[in-house]
Subunit: 223 residues, 2 copies
DNA sequence: TTTGTAATGTACCAAACGGTTAATTAAAGG
DNA sequence: CCTTTAATTAACCGTTTGGTACATTACAAA
């Protein structure tokens, strides 16, 4: 009854054959979804569009991720995981505290710049009051370790006598994050309002150095 | 034909009478729309929902603002206008540069906290790559003056010999904005990951003072 | 080979959504 | 008082959108 638009002499459309590859399909969906959510926001992203850009079908998205929210949550988790993994590569234990701090700042600054999709996801998540992050034990556990990095550097610096006492490592992390994050998250509006030249490579290098100075001057004694 | 659900003895529904109040209606729509866009994002906000929370009807929104994008743009412009007006109240000319700078930082920090809806709009705008802000001459003109404020303070400080030479006022503005903005924009995720106590009044006061210190130490000679 | 189950493709749907049509009323100008 | 226009109401519409039903295929275990 519903087969009115196909030629009658073509009895059944030949189905394309396929291989089973659950992990590949899932990874492919996540990669596409990350880009779409990052570009358009949670409500702005379209399941049809995501499916179209995938090598599989919409049915598969719902098969593996349940619904749109489920997909978004998994995208968020995967993004956090990848970014935090990138951070772990940094080894600063062998450096003197002042240098370690400066390196950490510069790395963080660059790392944020290199992961705009992640930054945008975090922005989106904040617009939603972090309600998805709140339901993800995975992510919360990952970040507990993020503070320890700067904590070690700071404690070392204090005991060596080169850092000021009485600072909260979380606040130092906050400072570094604030400037590194803002630099990416608000690039569009800030450039529009105060000049696009702030995004050139030279200006960004200068900015990075300046952020290093700011943090150093704040933490180091007689900085 | 379609009048099957209403009682037959009630011939015509009595139209509610109304007064004409174009400005009031427009203002009412803008206020509701600001909240809805701010809470749900551009795609996330629903025209029906906005209309429902208004004292008028959906038709009026389209009558005055054309379409959803038009409404969003006007909301954005109105929000910028109100926030920038609040900033103009600040008069720092009579203060010595160091004190003026510290006051500016503290004001900016507080001002951002007091306008979370505006902050969220700017976040949303950045997710859309500032494409609406780019089309608004009104907003761009408003912000040209924002830099002059810190420029005056800085120049005064340099000529008095208390500030370092060779700094870019835009970058100082950038620093202050970054920390003040991040403090509000990323409050949700940052609190979730590193402790909700950062949002208490005491911690926020301490943070504000610390931001003041950071900026001061950076700008002031021998800071 | 058979059979059960996980994985995939196709076609489809009900609801939500942005937007519109058309009639009606308030108020200002002559 | 009459006419005109701006403001407002109520009902409606076509499309988009998230989500499904159902048939089909790959693959592994028995």
């Amino acid at each position: 009854m519903s087969n009115i638009d196909s030629a009658p002499d073509e009895p059944t459309i030949r189905r394309a054959s396929w291989k089973q590859d659950p992990e590949g399909v899932k990874a492919n969906i996540l990669a596409v979804a990350l880009e779409e959510f990052s570009r358009n926001g949670l409500s702005g992203a379209r399941m049809n569009e995501i499916a179209a850009k995938t090598q599989t079908s919409k049915r598969m998205i719902y098969y593996y991720f349940g619904d749109k929210d489920g997909l978004y949550l998994k995208v968020l988790e995967a993004a956090y995981q990848e970014v935090r993994q990138g951070e772990e590569k940094l080894d600063l234990d062998h450096l003197p505290p002042t240098e370690a701090l400066e390196r950490l700042v510069e790395f963080t600054f660059d790392h944020h710049r290199k992961n705009p999709d992640f930054i945008r996801l975090v922005m989106i998540e904040n617009i939603h009051h972090g309600s998805y992050l709140a339901h993800s034990d995975v992510i919360r556990k990952m970040n507990k370790a993020a503070i320890s990095q700067i904590e070690e550097i700071y404690n070392k610096g204090v005991s060596t006598g080169v850092f000021r006492q009485g600072l909260d490592p979380r606040r130092i992390h906050w400072m570094i994050s604030a400037m590194s994050f803002f630099n990416v998250s608000n690039a569009a509006t800030f450039s529009l309002l105060f000049g696009a030249d702030l995004q050139t490579d030279e200006e960004q290098s200068a900015l990075r150095a300046e952020v290093g100075q700011i943090v150093t001057k704040f933490v180091v004694l007689n900085g």
